[in-house]
């Protein structure tokens, strides 16, 4: 039991970290960034290149991954989202194309074979038969810290309130003197940074390979759909629902079924309560 609890918390923390950047864009910009997984991809490879190939300190590798992710987010906003002026379908499709493009670029530069990252924080502790790798523990704690500070940021700073305002009523935000473009760009930059850092943790636990953007995207989609838009705490809760669902399925039913229930959950939630468990009736 304790073992399942520990594994569930670790995996859920990772999932929350993965989903938060996606939630942010979906809540504020109201667009589906299908290239979100590409931040994780690029973040993971950036870390790999700087820390594992060039031998820079690990912290520098994570920071550089964040910076590249941030730059990628800004570029995406400036080159794709802005020119398409709120045409959601076009943005979704172009980000999908962009994701495939970035995947091919990674193949071109690094090759197709998968790579294993060194743990960011080496070491492992056993508790009640469950192994707790320090890297995962750190990712889980980091995800809690990041999500809660993000929640505080959004609720209690001018910038954060402006982000909420833009997401709820664009005209209302404009006449309050909020520059939606700046807010959106900031959101995209933040989302890119968070995504790239999540990518380092995700890849350091699993592996680095060009197709690795799909799985996190699906996880992020699941968390956002089930949680509903605009709810950061919802993201945290649902990441734990999805994570625990997977761990419980693996432990008590069959490991190969772990993804099935997540997908079923998405479909059921969408059909039964389209706004998600913690979302608002705004469809």
């Amino acid at each position: 039991m304790l073992q399942v609890l520990i594994q569930g918390l670790l995996l859920s923390g990772l999932y929350a970290l993965i989903a938060v950047g996606f939630t942010l864009i979906f809540s504020v910009g109201r667009v589906l960034n299908l290239a979100y997984g590409a931040y994780l991809l690029i973040g993971g490879y950036t870390y790999f290149y700087f820390s594992q190939q060039l031998g820079l300190p690990k912290f520098a590798g994570v920071a550089l991954a964040g910076i590249i992710g941030c730059a990628l987010g800004i570029l995406k906003f400036q080159l794709i989202v802005r020119p398409l002026k709120g045409n959601h379908v076009a943005i979704e499709i172009s980000t999908l194309i962009l994701a495939v493009f970035l995947q091919s670029v990674v193949i071109f530069v690094f090759g197709d074979s998968s790579k294993i990252l060194l743990p960011i924080i080496p070491g492992v502790e056993r508790v009640a038969g469950a192994a707790i790798p320090f890297s995962n523990l750190f990712a889980a704690i980091a995800s809690w810290v990041i999500l809660i500070s993000l929640w505080l940021f959004v609720r209690s700073t001018h910038m954060g309130r402006a982000m909420q305002a833009v997401s709820m009523d664009a005209k209302g935000a404009a006449i309050s003197g909020v520059d939606a473009t700046k807010i959106n760009m900031f959101t995209w930059a933040l989302s890119g940074t968070l995504g790239a850092i999540a990518g380092v943790f995700f890849a350091s636990y699993t592996q680095l390979y060009p197709g690795m953007w799909v799985a996190p995207l699906i996880i992020a989609v699941a968390v956002v759909i089930v949680g509903g838009i605009g709810s950061i705490i919802g993201t945290l809760i649902v990441a734990h629902i999805v994570g625990f669902l997977e761990i419980l399925t693996s432990a008590y039913i069959a490991p190969e079924l772990r993804g099935v229930f997540t997908m079923l959950l998405i479909i059921v939630i969408l059909v039964w309560r389209p706004s998600g468990l913690f979302g608002r009736e705004e469809l």
Binding site: S114, K115, L118, R126, F202, Y205, A215, S250, P255
Partner: protein, 432 residues
């Protein structure tokens, strides 16, 4: 007016390009490579073939003609594999195909091979079901050869390892099998489960199948531990460095051995970032942890001089491609080319290359005859690499060995004992 002109120009360009497509130049022997160009194993086959072709061309080519290599990438995807085979057969109109495809991809394009009847040599897939096709339909499968020992040989050797080392030396009595959900995984799991209990006296507690896309192995290892078995037997060919690196990162307190394809290459240590110690795997012969015979060593040296990128040493299938392509060309010399696939096939069946190391047979590239029955498994293996399953392995190579990566990054052979360079050990974090 201008529009009309442009239309004309476009039409003309279209006709020219279509015409250039229709005429294929034909003054050479064309070899097609099919496999994944971005995986180390795929590249091994490709480079082994390139080296062989370079040497043959330096000696004047085959049948007085130069050999040219064209490549088609499968991306380890079945549909892409079929497209790639068609491209080689119909656009490039190659004479001979050398394949570094994985099992599932080979199974996908085999029907195309049957249709086009192009001499084809597989260097990587070990799928016994393809050999079964040769048994059942020798006519249609005549142009097909596989110069790696099949799954059966692999499993049989493992059972012997189980009896001699795991049971006798380590004193382990029960196993939990952790197998990936692939054709390869199923085949090996089936063969091992059938034989390990009656032959080696090791009880199979449970078989856990996992998806190749699994991200987090912690619950799977927990499940394996819960069975109370003495050790884990892993069967993984796709993304296998993930499971082994997580085994190390999680410091699973249970020994693990089995088949881990990524541990077959020199790059394994670098790829796992050093998190790969303790992993042991079955391996075909010219692999990591070996001293090579002079011919193969010379090949490796030329290889390393030519290619600066990974894989730094060809995988065993690189050797297979190198020797196999040379044999295929020799067969073509004898059969007067590749056009008559039956004739070439007959000539290929007779190929037999024996390489010695320290005065003993160490590597043999030959094929089982149509009606030859292998003694241990009591079945036939037409067009499959000749292997020898019982010591002293004087008929052919043992086909498979067990190698183990140590925690210091070194690698050595642990079984069979005649080939062993080091002893089988369990990882340091497991309390004895």
């Amino acid at each position: 007016m201008k529009f009309g002109k442009i239309l004309k120009a476009v039409t003309a360009a279209g006709v020219i390009s279509a015409a250039s497509f229709a005429t294929a130049a034909y003054a050479e022997i064309k070899v097609g490579f099919i496999g994944s160009l971005s995986s180390d194993t795929g590249l091994s086959t490709l480079r082994g073939a390139e080296m062989a072709i370079e040497e043959l061309n330096a000696k004047g080519g085959v049948l007085g003609e130069k050999i040219k290599l064209v490549t088609a990438d499968t991306q380890e995807d079945v549909t892409e594999g079929i497209k790639a085979y068609e491209y080689l057969a119909e656009t490039e109109e190659v004479d001979f195909i050398i394949s570094g495809s994985i099992d599932d991809v080979s199974l996908g394009w085999i029907p195309r091979m049957q249709e086009f009847q192009i001499p084809t040599l597989d260097t990587w897939t070990s799928s016994i079901s393809i050999i079964d096709m040769v048994v059942q339909d020798p006519e249609v499968m005549a142009p097909y050869f596989m110069n790696i020992a099949s799954d059966e040989a692999l499993a049989t050797l493992y059972i012997n390892f189980g009896a001699d080392v795991l049971k006798k030396q380590m004193g382990w009595n029960s196993v939990v099998i952790l197998a990936e959900d692939t054709g390869f995984g199923q085949a090996i799991t089936g063969l091992v489960t059938e034989a390990i209990s009656p032959v080696a006296g090791i009880e199979v507690k449970e078989t856990i199948i996992y998806d190749v896309g699994t991200v987090d192995f912690a619950p799977i290892f927990a499940k394996a531990q819960a069975t109370g078995a003495d050790f884990i037997y892993q069967v993984s060919s796709v993304n296998s460095q993930v499971i082994s690196s997580q085994y190390v990162k999680l410091q699973v307190p249970m020994p693990m051995t089995g088949v881990n394809v990524s541990a077959l290459g020199m790059e394994y240590w670098e790829d796992t970032g050093g998190a790969g110690g303790g992993i042991s795997t079955l391996s075909p012969l010219p692999s990591v942890g070996f001293k090579l015979d002079p011919t193969s060593q010379a090949f490796v040296e030329r290889y390393q001089a030519k290619y600066k990128s990974r894989p730094v040493i060809p995988h065993f299938n690189g050797f297979n491609a190198y020797y196999g392509l040379t044999q295929a060309m020799a067969a073509a010399e004898e059969a007067g080319g590749f056009k008559d696939a039956k004739k070439w096939s007959a000539a290929m069946e007779k190929q037999d290359l024996k390489l010695e190391l320290d005065g003993k047979l160490w590597l043999r590239y030959g094929f089982w005859g149509k009606d030859e029955v292998e003694e241990v498994t009591k079945r036939t293996y037409p067009h499959n690499a000749r292997f020898d399953l019982s010591a002293p392995y004087d008929d052919a190579q043992p086909s498979m060995v067990v190698v183990q990566w140590k925690e210091d990054g070194s690698v050595g052979v642990v079984y069979p004992f005649e080939y062993a360079t080091t002893k089988f050990e369990i990882p340091s974090w497991i309390k004895k």
